[in-house]
């Protein structure tokens, strides 16, 4: 009994010693495997596809064509560059309004007041709805003929607006919807930052006779800067990647005139409507590089602030 169990025990012990010595690898292994399988592989595959003329079926034979796709995409002024512009207009406009509005609401909710809980819940509601459902809902509200928005305008004698159907108004309308849905998230982040601020600097400034605007501008905002940058970072990544809302409201190609076609919608159309996987992968790789670039700038800025 003892004889039989001895070698087994020592093998077990050897393993456990080994596991103990290498525990940083052992613990990190599942996460590393996950990253390798689910992030690096698809990325490498996309990169490979972007250098081929894969189309029709990804299993069909495709030729390696080097950077020809990149040349084609980067010189495409009809779909690609307008899509880049729309991606940035959408992200920039939505982000700006969300930050300003989010800051205002966060400041309003900062100090305790009666019924605070209910107000907070009400403000957070848009955040919990799924973007596709939100898109469908606003599509009905903004319907030019039977939608509520135009009926409401009619009560005030304002003529009906095309909203999502208009070539010039569609992008602004989806920006509005994005603001409606995502401002609450900015509020949550900023509110968390505000609550953790200490009272002293503010009080000291008050004693020195600083008015509310001065205290906000010279005390609250600088102290909040790291939180604000986190909010910008999270929201801008999300906004750049927006797809569901745009697809639910305007469908494939971002509408008949590509009114809301961002890079994501364009890449989706290239692969799912045109079956042009090479070109689609190229657009996605360029998009990926753009996002990485933006994030690099933002994180550097954040480090500067923290210093």
């Amino acid at each position: 009994m003892t004889v039989a169990s001895l070698p087994q025990k020592s093998a077990w012990k050897a393993y456990s010693d080994w596991a103990n010595d290498h525990r940083k690898w052992l613990f990190a292994a599942p996460a590393m495997a996950f990253v390798a399988i689910l992030i690096i592989f698809p990325l490498a595959w996309t990169l490979y596809l972007s250098l081929t003329d894969a189309s029709g079926s990804v299993r069909a034979e495709s030729e390696f064509i080097g950077f020809a796709n990149y040349a084609e995409v980067l010189t495409d002024t009809e779909r690609f560059w307008p899509a880049v512009a729309r991606t940035f207009i959408f992200t920039g406009a939505a982000l700006l309004v969300q930050m300003v509005l989010g800051m205002c609401i966060a400041l309003l909710l900062w100090r305790p007041f009666k019924g605070e809980k209910w107000v907070r819940v009400a403000i957070l509601l848009p955040l919990v709805a799924t973007p596709v459902a939100v898109g469908m809902m606003w599509r009905l509200i903004f319907d030019p003929n039977i939608g509520f928005a135009n009926q409401a305008l009619a009560w005030f004698g304002i003529p009906a607006q095309p909203w999502l159907s208009g070539q010039d108004t569609a992008l602004a309308t989806v920006i509005f919807i994005d603001i409606w849905q995502w401002t609450p998230m900015v509020v949550i982040i900023l509110l968390a930052g505000l609550t953790s601020l200490s009272e002293e600097p503010d009080e000291a400034a008050r004693i020195d006779g600083a008015n509310a605007w001065q205290r906000f501008k010279f005390i609250t905002v600088p102290l909040m800067m790291p939180t604000i940058i986190v909010a910008i970072l999270l929201r801008s990544i999300d906004a750049l990647k927006t797809f569901d809302l745009l697809y639910a409201t305007k469908g494939r190609g971002g509408g008949s005139f590509h009114e809301v076609e961002t890079l994501n919608v364009y890449a989706y159309g290239l692969s799912f409507d045109y079956n042009d996987y090479g070109l689609s992968s190229t657009v996605l790789i360029i998009f990926f590089l753009i996002i990485i670039g933006c994030m690099w700038v933002l994180t550097r800025r954040r480090k500067d602030v923290q210093k």
């Binding site: 029709g56 079926s57 319907d143 509408g255």
Partner: protein, 433 residues
């Protein structure tokens, strides 16, 4: 002490990983055992046809002892699903409902569709020769049968009987009369559009095609070159665009497919509507339509070249080439497209592809009389395609659809047709390579 805890934690983690691995292995082997079995996986699109088939599936299961698993998706989701799954070479789909004119060539070229040539000839009772020639042509690729047509459709004119009566008008026989009638009704009833139809760049192409043929044009000429800038095509683009721009709903969206356009018509918002006949129940069913008892049907009004509606198979059934269950899959296809089943479904309002159901008075007994008459006319002078017959139909539709939306928004149709022509020629040249 701390060391022991760490060691324990390390062991637990190792066990967890090991257990996870073996569980995953179990999952894999379980799945393998199921393949090629009595379970048949059928992917279908949302359609009245599908609802009828699903109702009848228990009979099939009883007859054959098979279990049928149905996945049902909307048109766009179905396409996306096929794109992902078939690209990956899945064997998880056995029977697939697909659009022969939209994806047929692409799928057949990619080798997604199993060759059914021998199978369709194998059962004389089922009778392959009973299927109409047009639909059969479109499910045949390079002389191989790759699908069986299930639903056919033609473009017809939906109209509001009450509005026509009120305006003292006859049912328009020509496109000229249609325009005059739409104008008159729109002027007399400012809240009602004279005319509505699909407006989305891609969805509108199929419904525009009958107008194009009526003016004497087509998407591609006999030599295989782009014909979308021909004088006839320009006239057709201008006509379609003008009808919606001038007599259509106000602030009309340029994203409408049939559900949106149909909604405007069934809510009483339009006098005339051109659409596929297979969707007629949406307009005549009181549960969906506020004008159910005031809807009339007429053949596509004639243009300078006559009344030339499309007459096409909109859906068919194919078998996934990678499926390990092809024999059982064929049993399902055979059953779903049998004479009895096609007749039964046709009686429920879905026009079938078999000659026998149309020659059988029972086959059209449940249809509104004027619709049955319109279908009969359309089947005679119909054109066998409603979109450019190319491999990448999705891209082609967007190119040739551009002048439609330019017209709808009141832009320069001629210029748009010229640039669409250039792009389409380029597209055709690329595809021929």
């Amino acid at each position: 002490m701390q060391r022991t805890i760490l060691r324990k934690a390390g062991i637990t983690a190792a066990i967890a990983m090991f257990a996870g691995g073996s569980l995953a292995a179990c999952g894999g082997s379980g799945g393998d055992a199921e393949a090629g079995s009595d379970t048949l996986r059928v992917t279908l699109a949302n359609h009245v046809w599908t609802e009828q088939i699903i109702e009848a599936i228990p009979e099939f299961e009883e007859e054959t002892g098979l279990t049928v698993e149905v996945t049902q998706l909307g048109e766009d989701q179905l396409s996306a699903q096929y794109n992902v799954q078939l690209n990956a070479g899945t064997d998880e789909i056995d029977v697939m409902m697909y659009r022969p004119l939209q994806e047929g060539k692409l799928f057949a070229q990619n080798g997604y569709l199993a060759d059914l040539t021998d199978r369709v000839q194998s059962n004389p009772e089922w009778e392959w020769s009973d299927f109409q020639q047009g639909p059969v042509d479109s499910t045949t690729f390079e002389d191989k049968v790759v699908g069986v047509p299930t639903i056919t459709e033609r473009e017809v004119l939906y109209y509001r009987t009450d509005l026509l009566e009120q305006a003292g008008l006859e049912v328009p026989q020509t496109l000229e009369e249609l325009e005059a009638a739409a104008k008159k009704i729109n002027e007399e009833n400012p809240d009602v559009a004279g005319f509505v139809a699909r407006t989305g760049k891609s969805p509108a192409v199929t419904q525009f095609s009958s107008f194009l043929y009526g003016f004497g044009g087509d998407f591609i000429d006999d030599e295989g070159n782009s014909a979308v800038a021909s004088p006839e095509a320009k006239e057709a683009y201008a006509y379609y665009g003008r009808m919606i721009n001038e007599y259509g709903p106000e602030n009309v969206s340029t994203d409408m497919s049939w559900p949106e356009a149909m909604a405007i018509f069934t809510q009483g918002g339009a006098a005339f509507y051109t659409e596929a006949d297979s969707l007629y129940q949406n307009a005549t069913d009181p549960a969906n339509s506020q004008v159910a008892d005031k809807v009339g049907f007429a053949p596509m009004p004639a243009g300078p070249a006559g009344s030339k509606p499309y007459n096409v198979p909109s859906w068919g059934l194919g078998i996934n080439e990678a499926s390990k269950n092809q024999d059982n899959a064929w049993k399902f296809v055979e059953w779903a497209t049998s004479k009895d089943m096609v007749l039964q479904i046709q009686k429920e309002g879905v026009p079938g592809p078999r000659k026998s159901v149309w020659s059988n008075p029972e086959g059209t007994a449940t249809y509104p009389e004027d619709l049955a008459a319109a279908i009969e006319v359309s089947a005679e002078n119909g054109v066998g395609h409603d979109r450019p017959l190319v491999i990448n139909v999705g891209e082609a539709r967007e190119i040739v659809g551009d002048p439609i939306v330019v017209g709808i928004t009141g832009g320069e149709v001629d210029a748009a047709a010229d640039s669409a022509d250039e792009a389409f020629q380029q597209f055709l040249d690329d595809e021929r390579e």
